[in-house]
Symmetry: C2
Subunit: 129 residues, 2 copies
DNA sequence: ATGACATCTGAAGACATGACCATATGTTGC
DNA sequence: GCAACATATGGTCATGTCTTCAGATGTCAT
């Protein structure tokens, strides 16, 4: 056959594809880059013991000030404050000021759902995802 | 008992507590350190665009080989292989060898549920957690 | 056996992240 | 105003993570 052109695939640069159908299906249903970005940002926020414990504490008691959160998760208040800023910037928690205290609470039920699903699994099959 | 103990709190070192009841409740219901550790390890795995896209691809089409996954997520095969090793070590995916190909698939329905909950939220309220 | 192929592995560099300290801001009560 | 307090912020430093490269392993076809 054509000695030069037959092996060149227009949009596959140095990536070989075995099952074109599955690849096409997966690409069609794949989340967009922007969505993947948003998702990973959330999961990164949840990927820290201090932050995840803060969120669980808020799930349980609804609203807590910084120093109480520090007592609950047993971390320095500065660390908790930093953690809360990240969570607040991402829109995961909100804060309410009352005098010199600042009370934090969850901002969205979906995060609560995520944490519940995760905790649920932990209790049932602790050693396997 | 100890004569001078009234102001000394046994396990609170230099942490002031405002609402003792809420703190006690939160501490009682708090996930353990080990559980927090496991949870954060999972969320860290999900906190990377390549890995999360790989998982979504597997959710959609069930099983894919490394080079097809690389085509779907548009990343070098080496990166995908590294990503898959982390996911496999954590028990999130499993692999099946067939000749020189290696096919990967999800290992647990709970991760699928987590991804579904997340994607669901992304579609409904894309800008707020 | 030889070469082409699919995947894996280890290591090095760029890069991001978390912990800690000092300090700044804003609030309350005197 | 001043001092004590609750929280926030910025900088530095050590640590960890992702990407990439070069090469290793195991498989298939000739």
């Amino acid at each position: 056959m054509t000695p030069v052109a037959s092996s060149i695939d227009p949009d596959a640069c140095a990536v070989r594809i075995i099952d074109h159908d599955k690849v096409a299906t997966a690409r069609a249903r794949m989340i967009s880059d922007g969505e993947a970005q948003q998702l990973t940002e959330l999961f990164r926020l949840l990927g820290d013991p201090t932050r995840v414990q803060i969120l669980y504490a808020l799930v349980e008691v609804g609203e807590l000030c910084v120093c109480d959160l520090a007592a609950v998760v047993d971390a320095p208040e500065t660390s908790v404050s930093h953690a809360l800023r990240l969570l607040r910037t991402a829109g995961v928690v909100r804060n309410r000021k009352s005098g010199r205290m600042v009370y934090y609470s969850l901002n969205d039920a979906h995060v609560r759902l995520l944490l519940d699903v995760s905790a649920e699994h932990l209790r049932h099959e602790p050693n396997q995802w």
